[in-house]
Every structure is written in C-alpha cells, then in structure tokens.
Symmetry: C2
Subunit: 233 residues, 2 copies
DNA sequence: ATCTAAGTATGATAAACATCAAGACAACTC
DNA sequence: GAGTTGTCTTGATGTTTATCATACTTAGAT
C-alpha cells in the first residue's frame, strides 16, 4: 500500500513516525496551490491546520495598531505554525504567499492526535520547536543588542556564508520586506546600505557585492549565539 | 522506595513520567543554594545541566559587543535552558541569581536520555517548549511593533491583571533591570513613567498606582497575541 | 549622626530612527 | 514612444531614544 503525500514523508518531522501515524496525519490532508499574495492564515484564528510549504514561499507577519512587521519567510520544505497547532492556541502570526506556492494542509486535530500516541512524532516535534525557540531568542537578542546598521551588516554576512562565501549574491527578498524583517523602515534600509559602503558593501538593485569581508566582519562582529541560523546551533 | 527531590516531582515537566525515568533524571542531580548575583550559566557554554528554580529568582541575560540586555526572570517553580539541553547546543543566554536562590541541577545527558526513552517526558517537553517559543515570538512582536512608552504601558497593565486587578502593586524588579527587560535605558524608563502620568500612572519608589485603567488601556491597546503571558495563550 | 554606595531622577545634548514629500528608475502596458 | 505602475532612493524634518553629566534619595555601615 502506498502512502499519500510521499513528498513530505522525508521531512525530519515525519521521517521516523510509524506508517499508521503517517496515514492518520495524511488521511484528511490535502495539497493546495495558491497564487501570490494569498493570506493563508490570520493571527488570532484557531489553528485548523499545520502547514507544510512544498514549493514557493510564505511570509509570516504580524499586526498591531495599524502597524505591520514581517517576522520571517518560510521556504520549502518547512512547516509553519507548529507551536500553535500542538497547543491548540490561536495563531500569533499571519501568513501569506509571496509567490505561487504549493502547500500541504494537515488537520491540526490529527496532528495533536498522533502527537499523543506516537512517541517518535513527539520527539521530532521537540527538535523542531527547540530550533524555532532558539531562533526566536536569537531574534530578540539581535533586536535588543544591535543598531539597525549592525543588524544589516550581520544579515549580509549571513547571506555571504549561506552562499558558500561567494562575494556576490542576490538579496532574497524585496527590499521593503527585508527592511521590515530587520526591524527598520525601507528608507532607513536604503540609507543603511549606503552607510555600509565604507566596509566594502556595493549594491546594485538586488545584487550585492562584498569587497572587504574583513572590514565588514570587524564592524558587524557576528556571533554564533545570534547569527547562526542553522538548526545545528 | 521514596523518590529523591519530591519537590520537583509535581512540575508539569515531570508529573507524568515513569518512576524509573524520574529516578534516572535525579540519580546524579543535586540541589544547591546560591548567594545573590551568582552567575550560574554563561552563554556559549555547553549545557551541562537543566536547571529548576525552587526558591529565589534567576535573571537570564545576554551580551554582545560590551552591551548587555536582560531577557527575562525565572521564578519558582520553573525550569530554564531546556531547549539548549535537549538539543545539546550552547546556551544562548547567561543566568545569575537575583537573590539567594535554591536550584536543582539535572545532568543534561540524563535529560536527553530520558527524553529518548520516555514518551510522556517528550510530550511534556513539547508543551514547555511550545510555551517558551510562543513567548519569544510575542516578545519580538512587542519590540518591533511598539514604542518603549507603549511597551511600558502594556507591562504595567500586565502587572495589574496578574495582581487580580488591584490598582496598587509593587514593581517586581529593580527599575534598571525592568528597563533592560523592556528594551530601554534606565533614564528612558524614568521619563516614560513620567510620560504615563496623563494616563493615571502614579509611581512612588517601587509602588505603582493606576488611577485610570480605561485611559491607560486606550493608550496601550493590549493584545492577547502579544501581552498574554500565561501558558494558556 | 555621618559617610558611603547604589539606585534613581533630571537636564542638556547627540545619535538613531521614522515620517513625509518628491524624484529616479526600471518593467509593463497600450 | 508615452504613459502607468511599483519599487527604490534622496532630502528635509521631526520624533524617539541613547548618552553624558550631575544631583538627589535611600539604606546600610561605621
């Protein structure tokens, strides 16, 4: 008997669970492809589904008092909104597609069900939540300990590391969204990019070139305890 | 046969685990009482122990580039540094006692061991991590969406709610530490408390009186998706 | 009671950051 | 090619927040 949704079977979250558990999780699940700028979830809503991004990208953002901030972007193959799902509490963030995106929706009641019965699933959830938790703490440290210029410099160095230390790379995102991610306004980002020129940062459109890694690193003082975004730290 | 450390047996984290698991966890554990201002853990260090605060209080803080920020305070009966322990990754925060404190230290190798073998423990860890994760996300939203005056106003209203809506209460902490928690300088906190006078905030030393809850609420616009600090949201 | 130290408050100033308005630029459409 | 749209940049200005210097207040020690 073949399992439904073989694409997500190999995610760390589902890799070690039993066939029966996977059946339960996927029995009432479905795949959906959404156009760009579609709001998939809204903060405050009850968590009906656990989401898995298979293709495209989903931006998580939050609102308060007519203000909005971008929290982070979910790329394939990752889940989002796991904590709300297992706790059965309202979403803390909203999510919208950035581009045409294929998403798997797993009913959250089934997720909680399997969580209760399958120890391997509980263990996988622990790993996922611990990663997310540590990422969120790093984010708070970044916001509280650094100026916006310092956050930007460290962001660029993180991109550089993720590109296998290629000195040229493309910004992953629209600049206005990048600004919001970094906790600043688009105008301020524009000026900050200029302000990093003296550390060898050259920007042309989406393209960035870092011509003096040492100078930029000396200024940014990256730390594994803030900037490492791999789940291994 | 009686179990060691009956005091912590009833914590949510240990409540449902087997007697054998609890034995394993506590076999090499020990209790220690520390004087005030003792640094228990240092960010970057390997997670040797999972800590449980039994009495007193422990401040978690972080450093970067000769700056320091207070993250939050751990009160009895709570654990701290759980995510680092289960993932076996370096601490992201340092911790020091605020006053004379009694702490239980559980060897983190044993914690990971029991986590692997006892499904009930894994489930309890999920709940704890999900609470912490959501708390950290609320913290980021608070920092990114609000000014320091708005954060302070919401903090005071949170205290008010936690005191069963008594209009007078004492600030839990030294003002300089409260300022750091809220992401501002002590001077700015002092001025901000003055700035909230027009919304009925009267401060005398550690004592706060809120004389116009409606005005303060109208200004602060508290949100369950940011300010609710109970694990139930 | 006086001294000290730590915490807090206040004033002056500067830096960081946001806002508003206008312009530049590229990618599309017609 | 002219116009449209969306995004980004730049400049002027104002607000928020941090920094520095100093004074005050309180609790504890001598």
């Amino acid at each position: 008997m073949t399992e439904k949704f073989p694409e997500i079977r190999n995610l760390a979250l589902f890799h070690d669970i039993s066939t029966q558990s996977f059946e339960t999780l996927t029995r009432a699940a479905y795949v959906q492809t959404y156009p760009p700028s579609t709001e998939l979830i809204t903060e405050g809503d009850a968590p009906d589904f656990l989401y898995v991004v298979q293709a495209g990208a989903v931006e998580l953002f939050a609102n308060w008092a007519h203000r909005e901030t971008s929290m982070w972007t979910v790329w394939p193959q990752s889940t989002f909104i796991l904590a709300a799902t297992v706790k059965n509490r309202p979403y803390l963030m909203s999510g919208r597609t950035l581009c045409k995106s294929r998403v798997v929706l797993l009913p959250s009641a089934d997720v909680r069900n399997v969580f209760e019965t399958d120890g391997a699933f509980a263990k996988a959830i622990v790993t996922e939540l611990a990663n997310g938790y540590r990422g969120a703490i790093k984010n708070s440290k970044n916001l509280k300990l650094r100026s916006s210029l310092e956050r930007l410099a460290n962001y660029l160095l993180t991109c550089y590391r993720q590109c296998d230390k290629a000195p040229r790379f493309l910004l992953e995102a629209q600049k206005s969204r990048l600004a919001s991610n970094l906790g600043m306004t688009p105008e301020n980002l524009s000026r900050a990019l200029n302000g990093l020129k003296k550390y060898g940062v050259a920007v042309d459109g989406q393209s960035v070139e870092l011509t003096d890694i040492k100078a930029l690193t000396d200024f940014a003082q990256p730390s594994l305890l803030i900037d490492d975004d791999t789940p291994f730290f």
